[in-house]
């Protein structure tokens, strides 16, 4: 079972627990025929052009972005771009995300992170909690804030 990290805590997957599922983009329209849109999310690989999701910004419930390696930072830009395109639904990072990267993910627009169980064993909840505290007090927010 993968572990979901939300607000610095390890939880079980609320989206799938409620009967939700993630499908690939090309299966999305077929999937929402069979199930509620609110329970259907889209799985996107790291090489996704966020523009391909432009038509779904108001309808899709959740988008799960893959992190094949912690060194591959494309997901941060995909999330930020989706937020800029007006997406207000759930965004989840899935894969090799390190606890030290958690603040970056939150600040880029992610709501939560999904990591494999073995990784959760090596990086316990305390590390994620501690990392979350570093989300505040950053240069970018300060620059934007000071401008207002």
């Amino acid at each position: 079972m993968p572990v979901i990290i939300k607000e610095g805590r390890f939880i079980e997957d609320p989206f799938t627990d409620a009967g939700g599922a993630f499908v690939a983009l090309d299966q999305y329209s077929a999937a929402v025929h069979d199930r509620e849109a609110a329970l259907t999310g889209i799985d996107v690989p790291a090489d996704t052009d966020p523009q391909a999701l432009a038509g779904l910004m108001n309808s899709v419930a959740a988008i799960r972005i893959a992190f094949p390696s912690f060194a591959d930072g494309r997901g941060f830009s995909i999330a930020r771009k989706l937020r800029r395109m007006g997406f207000n639904g759930l965004i989840r990072a899935k894969g090799h995300v390190l606890a030290d990267q958690y603040p970056l993910a939150i600040r880029s627009g992610f709501d939560e992170v999904e990591i494999p169980n073995d990784q959760a064993g090596r990086m316990p909840q305390s590390q994620w909690r501690e990392a979350l505290a570093r989300t505040q007090n950053n240069y970018l927010d300060r620059l934007k804030h000071r401008a207002a």
Binding site: G73, I78, K81, S108, Y139, L140, K144, A147
Partner: protein
């Protein structure tokens, strides 16, 4: 100069605290070297050939006496008593012990310094014209903009795990001393049609294995749009840059393979969206940051003493001729302190020398010091009347070598003496060149000549843009040096062309001697530099000097 506010202070202290914990975990074994690596790289700590190396950021190459003295203290307390100035205006300590690094970072934080983002695939230390704020040809001081970019890029959530490292350089003068066209992004401060200040944005330059000259992405960008525009470029790069091959991962390859027009369209489309969200920190830029870069209160009294001292002392005269550049205030000069004495290691400065530089800056230089990408130190504001005194003090500690811009003012990477990537030695080659031409007593006769040496194809020594470039390779276990000719690092940037087959280490210095003596024969006059002569005549007569046997065979 920029002084940390409470926010900067708290941010840097928190990073030191985090890193201290990570080092403890590494030492007690709970972190493996593999897991520790990305964490240490975020704090400028490399593992080199023989030891760890700590690279300390000197933002846009600007520091003061307090910072310089602290670097001297760090060099003595935790290293071997010296530091190494780099081509990105940073300073490296080559022999720290892992357990001491948190203390070193703490000592840096005490004076408003850090090693954040001096490594890793993120936006690196922003570099700028080392004569910024002093140069006679300057349109505007680029450092407030560089500081703004530093703040924006530090811990930027989106751009810490880019396809590859990302380097930005900025110049406020038409004469480009910041090598802007060989950076991922180069920024030139320009004026618009109505005289309004703005930027020209150059993208996709770089040296390394595949050298490219940067191309103009936007001819004029209003000042307030800078950060959203940079953000757009970085986002396009982060999403589209290659990640399948680290040697093809820089933005220069993306621009080259995709085409400038397509990249421009993508950047402009993203930029429009970013603009909607971004609030411009223009008031911050103009008021808070720029306030830190007000020019010092210049003392405009001129005296005859300077002229008289020049008249009386030929050694001082030679020093002023090469090492003092024109200041925007006629009563002042910009003094470059060469770190390249005959036979020395380019860029190495001892703790004692650092303290002398600090003392001179404090006493005679409005407390400002710069580090240049050519690995020298600069006192940007010295009253001409004080230059003889400053020169004498520098001479006493071996820092008065009158060779700036000359054949021995060489850029050299650390090479195989330190670097794990190097395929050949660089420093001994630089030392031999400077010793040879010193012995020939021809250095001043030869005039301006930029030699740049890299010890492998990653080109940290900028050999592609040296008037004479030297690239050290490994040929079946033997060092072999390729020579390129006609490179240029300035606003008229050109990549050097390979002259022919490489030279063994013992053949290289005689070949260079033939080459340079041939130039002296070929030039129209003393005013025609090596580069100008090369441009006028082409490669052929220079190749003939480098490879005389071939001439004989052809005859």
């Amino acid at each position: 100069m920029y002084a940390y506010n409470e926010f900067d202070e708290a941010f840097v202290r928190e990073r030191v605290r985090q890193f201290r914990g990570q080092v403890e975990k590494r030492i007690d074994g709970s972190l493996t070297e593999d897991e520790f690596k990305p964490l240490r790289l975020m704090n400028g700590l490399y593992l080199q050939l023989h030891a760890y190396m700590l690279r300390v950021a000197i933002p846009y190459g600007t520091l003061d006496s307090r910072k310089m003295r602290q670097l001297a203290m760090i060099a003595e307390k935790w290293d071997k008593g010296y530091g190494h100035l780099t081509t990105r205006q940073n300073i490296q300590f080559n022999w720290p012990k892992l357990k001491d690094v948190p203390e070193m970072l703490e000592a840096l934080a005490d004076v408003g310094m850090h090693a954040i983002q001096t490594s890793g695939n993120c936006v690196r230390n922003v570099t700028a014209d080392h004569f910024a704020g002093a140069a006679a040809d300057e349109i505007e001081d680029p450092r407030p903009t560089a500081e703004l970019i530093r703040q924006w890029s530090t811990d930027h959530p989106e751009f810490q795990f880019l396809p590859r490292k990302f380097k930005i350089a900025i110049t406020g003068a038409p004469n480009d001393r910041a090598v802007t066209k060989a950076h991922d992004i180069g920024i030139r401060m320009v004026r618009g049609g109505a005289g309004e200040p703005g930027y020209e944005i150059i993208v996709g330059g770089g040296l390394g294995r595949s050298p490219f000259i940067g191309k103009v992405l936007r001819e004029f960008l209003p000042k307030a749009h800078l950060l959203p525009y940079l953000e757009a470029i970085l986002q396009v790069y982060n999403l589209s840059g290659r990640r399948d091959n680290k040697y093809k991962a820089r933005i220069k390859i993306l621009v080259h393979e995709t085409g400038l027009e397509e990249i421009r369209d993508a950047v402009e489309a993203t930029f429009e969206r970013v603009l909607e969200e971004f609030e411009f920190p223009s008031d911050l830029l103009t008021a808070e940051i720029a306030g830190h870069f007000e020019p010092p209160e210049f003392d405009n009294t001129q005296t005859l003493a300077f002229g008289e001292a020049l008249e009386a002392d030929p050694v001082l005269r030679a020093f002023v001729e090469t090492n003092v550049a024109e200041h925007k205030n006629p009563a002042y000069g910009i003094v470059t302190i060469s770190t390249k004495p005959v036979g020395g290691t380019p860029g190495d400065v001892t703790a004692g020398q650092m303290r002398v530089i600090a003392d001179l800056a404090e006493r005679y230089g409005h407390d400002e010091i710069r580090i240049s990408h050519e690995q020298n130190a600069v006192l940007p504001h010295v009253r001409k009347a004080d230059i003889p005194t400053v020169h004498a003090a520098l001479k006493a500690v071996g820092l008065a070598t009158a060779n700036v811009g000359l054949v021995s003012d060489i850029i050299a990477c650390p090479g195989m003496d330190y670097c794990a990537l190097a395929t050949a030695r660089s420093i001994p080659v630089a030392q031999e060149i400077s010793e040879r031409f010193h012995a020939l007593k021809l250095e001043h006769e030869i005039g301006e000549l930029k030699i740049k040496i890299s010890g492998c194809i990653n080109a940290c020594g900028h050999h592609h843009v040296g008037h004479i470039g030297i690239l050290g390779l490994d040929k079946a276990g033997v060092e072999n040096y390729q020579v390129t000719l006609g490179g240029d690092a300035t606003e008229t940037m050109a990549l050097g062309e390979r002259a022919g087959p490489g030279f063994a280490a013992d053949e290289l210095i005689p070949a260079l001697e033939r080459l340079i003596l041939a130039y002296l024969q070929l030039r129209h006059s003393r005013e025609e530099t090596f580069l100008a002569a090369y441009r006028r005549l082409g490669a052929e007569p220079f190749q003939a000097a480098l490879y005389p046997e071939k001439e004989r065979h052809a005859a």
